[in-house]
Each structure stands twice: as C-alpha cells, then as structure tokens.
Symmetry: C2
Subunit: 350 residues, 2 copies
C-alpha cells in the first residue's frame, strides 16, 4: 500500500532523546517498509528512515532555537498533507485532532492514532465535532473518556525484537525506569524496595517542571546505597539495566495510555510489578509477565513471588504480543478495512 | 452586510486587561454594529458585545486555569468557522495564518488582519503556501517582510472618539506608557528625561518574562522622584495620565506593527516623541502630532520644540485619521471589494 505516516514535528523520528510518540512512529514506519509497503514519512528533516522522507521543517522544533512561532511549521504541515493526500491509499496521522477539519473534507482514507491521555475535559468538544474521524487507541482503557469517538481499533505498541534482548546477568536489584514525576510515583517504588529489603536502581530523567518535586520529595529518599539514582539511560544501556533487575517497578498514579517501559522490560525477560492504572491490566499478563498489585504491601508480596515467573516465558510473551511486526500487521489490517470502506464513497464522487 | 468577526480566544473581546488585538477587534465590531451591519463575533464566552456572540469557549483561555491542552478550543473554533461560513457575506479573521487551509477551500470571501510582526523567518513558508489568501496589514511597514503576501490594503487601527479625551490638566511631565521590556526601551526614555531635566512618569506592566530586565536594568534607574514608576493603568486612568504629559516618549527598538499608544496620546492632544521604527513614520505627522527622532540627543531637542505643537491640532488630526469609525469604514470598503470579486466564483458553484 501507499502509506503516509504523519508524525509530530516536536521531535525527530526517531527522537534524539525522549519522545514516545516519535519512537513508535519510527518503529512502525521501518517495519512497514520492511514488509514491502511504499511508505512516506512526514516529519522533521533530521529524521532518519528507510521510507521516503517528506521533510516539513529542517529540524525537530524542540531543538530549533531560532523558532519563535512554533505553530507555523505545524500549520504548514497540515496544508502539505492535504495537498499530497491523493498520492496515498491511507494517511496515518499521529497529530491528535489537529488535521480533522481538513482530512474529513477530502477523499483519501485516514486514521489517527491517539498517543496521549484523553480525559482532559477540553478535548471532548473537539471529538463531539468529528464523530466520523477514524481513531485508534493504544489501549482500551485510554479511549474510555471519549465514548463519542469513532474508534476503529486498539493497537498496542510494539518494539523491534532485536532492539532490547535478555543479557546474561545476575538479577539482583529492582529497577525504576522513566521520568521522575508525581504521576510515576518513584516515592512508592523507593518505599516498596525498602520494605522488601532490596536494592533499587532508578534510571530516570528529571524534567525542569519536576525539579522541585525531585528536590523536595525524592532526593531526600535516595541514600546512594540501597536506593541509587543512575540518571537518564538510552536504548544502548537498557538491556543490561533491565536484564540485571529482578523486576521493574511501575507504581504509577495516572491513567498512562500505554507505557512503553513495560514491554521494554518484557523484551529483556524482566517481570513488571505494576499498579493497575491506564493500560497496565491490558499489557501485563498477571502471573506470567509480572504482577498487578493494588498497594505497596501487595507489591512487597509480589516481590517474594518473582521466582514463579520465567525470563524465557516473559520474552516469549513479548515476542507474541509486542513486536513492531505485530503492531504493523494490526495497522495494515485497519488500513485495508478503511480503504475498502471508502471505495463506494469515492465512486459517488467520480 | 452579514459580517463575521473572528477573534483569538486567548483574551476576551474586549480584553479584561492587556491585549491589543482583542481591543481592536472590539472597537471594530461595535462600530460595525453602530453602522447597521449584521455582525457576529466568534470569541470567548466572557466577551461583551452588541453583536451576536458565537461563544466558542466559556472563557478567555488565558484565564481558564483548568485548561491543559490550549489547542483544543482553537481547533474547535476553526471547524465552527468553516461550518458557519455560508451564513456570512464576509469572514474577517484575526487568527493569523491558522484558518488559511480551511478558508481557502470554501466559497465565502474572507480576509485576515495580521496583528503581529511578520519578520520571523518561520512564517514566510506558510505565506508562500497561500499566495491568494487576502491579507490586511496594520501599517505599510509591517508587510515588508512578506512581499509574497496578497495584501489587499493597510488599515490603521482606530479608537472610539469618546474613549480617551483631553482633560484640563497642567502638562508638566514626560510619559512612558506600555510594557517594561527591552524592545520598548524604557531606559532610553529615562536617559532622555534626565538629559532634558524633566520629570518622567512610567505607567507600565511588567511581564514575568521581563522581570529580570526590570530588576537589573530599569529599577536601578528609577529614583521615585524625577523618574517615577506608577504601575499598570487602564483606560479609566489614561486620559488624566496622558493629558498631564507634555509628551509621550516612544523610543522603541523594534518594528512595532502599529502601536496603539501613539493614537491614545493623540486622542488626549498629547504629542509623541518617537524613534522611527515600525509604523511610527506612518502614524506620527512630524511637527504636528509629534516628532520623529533618531537618537536621544534629537529627542532632547524635540522636547524643547514641543511648544510648536497644539493639543487642539493633535486631537483634530486624531479625529481625522484614527477613529474607530474611519477604521470600520476602511474595512467595509475592503469587504465590499472582496465580496464583489468573489461573485463569479459563487455563480459557478451554485
């Protein structure tokens, strides 16, 4: 199929550092190319891809320090998408509701993967306005606040299978991987590790907006011995970090729409001990790839049951459920469904 | 005519405090209603108007503390404008280039007043994309960086004639009115007043982003006696503040597209001593409504020539050139021109 992947311009595809959406767009794009599709990636010019790159702006907006009006590149992008729409069988957008007004008024089938949380009250009126815009959720839980949305499917994220693999390591600590922020509850992770009498390694970035939270709440809890902060890590360091962990702790306190870190752990054969918010109950197979717990005491109990899980079985489940190929195949199935559906309407027009 | 005025949602119309664009949209809207037109104002729900109010969002976005995704209301607005476009003879937008993609694909004539500076490099590619979108500049100087734009006219801003009027005051100080920020050069104003041996009263707001500049550069120059900071003032205080001034100092260091403060001073019969940036040479009639000066020494010389100007003559020039009625009539002339032009295209469609 002739497929347009349309990414936000904030980060390159893949992102230079952090950027969940752009990472997933990259995995999907490269996998679709590998499957033989004719893929064009609309993204910032510093993106790296085997697809055709339609560079809307020379570099990722977040790193363009000369930029004062950040809306200009995005509005330009919407116009370019509209102008090129007829060259594709399907337009796959990752720009939230931004292109709905335009794309709902042209004949090429399109769909939008929603990457963010959907429970902000201000977005409901926008979706009320576009009851027909085809949407994809990244977990079933994510779409609950928008019953009026035309969700055509849930497609869980996936990773290239060779990106992160189990390493031959002694598993002797608990791991926390992500951002230091109240929603991710690193304080809970620290208390759980202490109660279990285990070492906790925290691999995390600290955004500017979370500096105060870190200084006031988290830093005093870090002793550098039992509780250790090792800073931000990239894909190169993740296999060793995750393969050395007995479990990943994910004691989140917000409806995380997906949570890539869970499948990163699984890819390394590492079980996840998670609180049941957002996508957690859909991603974790309780007792196989980890444990879903409801409070810190249950988390400590789960730690004592970690021997019931097996790195091999966890990795196998990852390969069954969360590879980029599975993700790409799910999307292609949706593309075909939408492309077929749109044919009668096209006939009416021509 | 059936006219849609389409305002940004950031501030109400008129704005509660600061907000040049929304103030002008308010003056224009009310004047068009007074002239007998059928006007609909698309704006935030806390706007106050004699036109029909199409409330896109309950309150101005700047004061909606619950809002986390500020794009949602704006995207909703673009869609609503498109949906209602056919109800109007003309759509007058004040949303920069945001609606171009949509409005260029529907038959109702539209035009956009550009209220901001146009010399940011990132906006040129957007205007390249829309060579036919009808634009209005608020000064001839403003449009220079966009020679590719389809400018159908320049319309200077105007004020309701009774909003600010000359008050019977002793004129015994120099005035600075606006924001404290490097572009407006309050430091120059202070040095000019000192060199002229005159009192300077500064009526200004200080935005968060300019706090450091104020603390480091300006505050040390304020002695509270010769140089006095009186804080932010509203329309109620402006007539006395401006009528008590021998002149308004406008030693700007940026291409200000218009500069409402100049015509506010003129409305009070107060001459303006200004540096020739942006719209200044178009707005100030040198020797009549003020003096255009090129450095601080020339400004001091101009102060010694202020007796050559006359408050009555200045007020008269204001009434000739800068009332809301003159502004509204200019716009109606453009509306009619665009509406006539669009008729053949409309016939083809129907």
């Amino acid at each position: 199929m002739r497929i347009a992947q349309i990414a936000p311009l904030t980060e390159s595809v893949p992102p230079r550092t952090y950027g969940g959406t752009e990472r997933v767009v990259s995995y999907l794009t490269e996998e679709l190319v590998a499957m033989g599709h004719d893929v064009t990636l609309f993204a910032s010019g510093d993106s790296i891809t085997d697809a055709k790159l339609e560079a809307i702006w020379p570099q990722a907006l977040r790193f363009d320090s000369t930029l004062r009006d950040a809306m200009a590149p995005s509005m330009l992008m919407l116009e370019k998408i509209y102008q090129h729409a007829h060259e594709f069988d399907i337009l796959h957008c990752h720009l939230d509701y931004w292109p709905f007004s335009l794309l709902s008024r042209q004949p090429t089938p399109y769909l939008t993967t929603l990457h963010g949380r959907l429970d902000l009250p201000e977005i409901a009126p926008v979706f009320d306005c576009f009851p027909d815009a085809p949407l994809v959720s990244i977990s079933d839980m994510q779409r609950r606040p928008l019953p009026q949305g035309n969700f055509v499917g849930t497609v869980y994220h996936g990773l290239p299978p060779d990106l992160l693999t189990p390493q031959p390591m002694q598993r002797d600590y608990l791991a926390f991987l992500g951002r230091i922020c109240p929603e991710k509850s690193p304080d809970r992770a620290i208390r759980i590790a202490r109660a279990a009498g285990m070492k906790l390694k925290i691999a995390a970035k600290i955004d500017r907006v979370d500096k105060l939270y870190f200084e006031e709440v988290i830093r005093p809890m870090i002793d550098g011995d039992q509780i250790e902060l090792i800073g931000e890590i990239g894909d190169a360091e993740k296999p060793a970090f995750l393969s050395g962990a007995k479990a990943l702790l994910l004691p989140i306190d917000w409806p995380e729409p997906f949570g890539l870190v869970m499948i990163e752990a699984m890819a390394c054969g590492t079980p996840v001990i998670a609180f049941p918010a957002g996508s957690v109950p859909e991603v974790i197979d309780h007792g196989v790839t980890g444990f879903i717990v409801h409070d810190e005491a249950e988390a400590v109990t789960a730690i004592s049951r970690l021997h019931e899980t097996s790195p091999t079985a966890i990795r196998r489940r990852f390969e069954q459920r969360f590879t980029a190929r599975r993700m790409a195949e799910d999307y292609v199935a949706l593309y075909r469904r939408l492309a077929v559906k749109s044919r009668p309407a096209l006939r009416l027009v021509t």
